[in-house]
Symmetry: C2
Subunit: 132 residues, 2 copies
DNA sequence: AAAGTACTTTATAATGATTCTAAACAAGTG
DNA sequence: CACTTGTTTAGAATCATTATAAAGTACTTT
């Protein structure tokens, strides 16, 4: 199984549940955005078994910490994640409440001129809100 | 009272509670970031009376809809608001969990090259995450 | 392979922010 | 003042997320 090593490298034991979650998240042609609830539904559909919500939360957070997933900064009642962990940005369609990827090359270079002493920049994320 | 007209113009009745909230939010030299809970505490301290949390929520959301407040897109368990409604951006200091304003002039111009049919851009917000 | 340990999963309970409800109240209008 | 409409309120309800602790599984050591 191709995800066993990925998990091992992160100090996570390759359990049946984690492997199933990996398949849903990473065994696809295109990256996608999801909430925990979405993901739980997808797993149930694909593998025809239910993984405890607590496990889905734990695993997603472990993956996020390891850099396999990214949290998307957006104001919503639910937390959105992205399987696209490359440096990129987002449109947020307000009327449809949907996220759309914005490739890095679709946004001109961003120059942050202000510096904060003793801190370094970890990420620069742009959220472009869309209305009709 | 200087906020009465502001409220009236927005179709909001100038009630005692709304005026008190206005004073806490807008009667200050510098703009600031806050959560609903922060705001409720500030009101209690400044006016020495308690406004129902439900009212604080209602009023903040009404103000946000009218453009008197801005929601800050950030992943946190609580929603952050900003009394600075001008076009600007934010640093988010991950270790101190604190927001810092980034003036528009501190960020080079942002050029969004991709267009979505039938949608127009409402806002462009940059979140710069800081680590130690 | 058995035994021991450390990590995982799970159902369920707990938490905490936010929203809803419906009754009491205040503001605006004639 | 009488009337309508908007507002406030405490408390209940909701919903995402986190904590708990018991049962299960993976890995290591013999």
């Amino acid at each position: 199984m191709k995800y066993i090593e990925k998990l091992r490298n992160s100090g996570l034991r390759p359990t049946k549940q984690r492997l199933q979650i990996c398949e849903v998240l990473f065994d696809v042609d295109e990256t996608f955005h999801f909430t925990i609830y979405d993901l739980a539904k997808k797993i149930k559909k694909k593998h025809n078994n239910k993984i405890s919500l607590a496990t889905v939360y734990n695993t997603v957070h472990a993956f996020e910490k390891k850099g396999y997933l990214k949290q998307i900064p957006i104001n919503s009642n639910q937390t959105y994640f992205d399987t696209n962990v490359s440096d990129h940005h987002h449109f947020y369609d307000l009327s449809e409440e949907k996220l759309i990827d914005l490739k890095n090359s679709d946004v001109g270079p961003i120059n942050i001129k202000k510096k904060i002493d003793g801190k370094k920049i970890k990420s620069v994320e742009v959220l472009v809100k869309l209305e009709d």
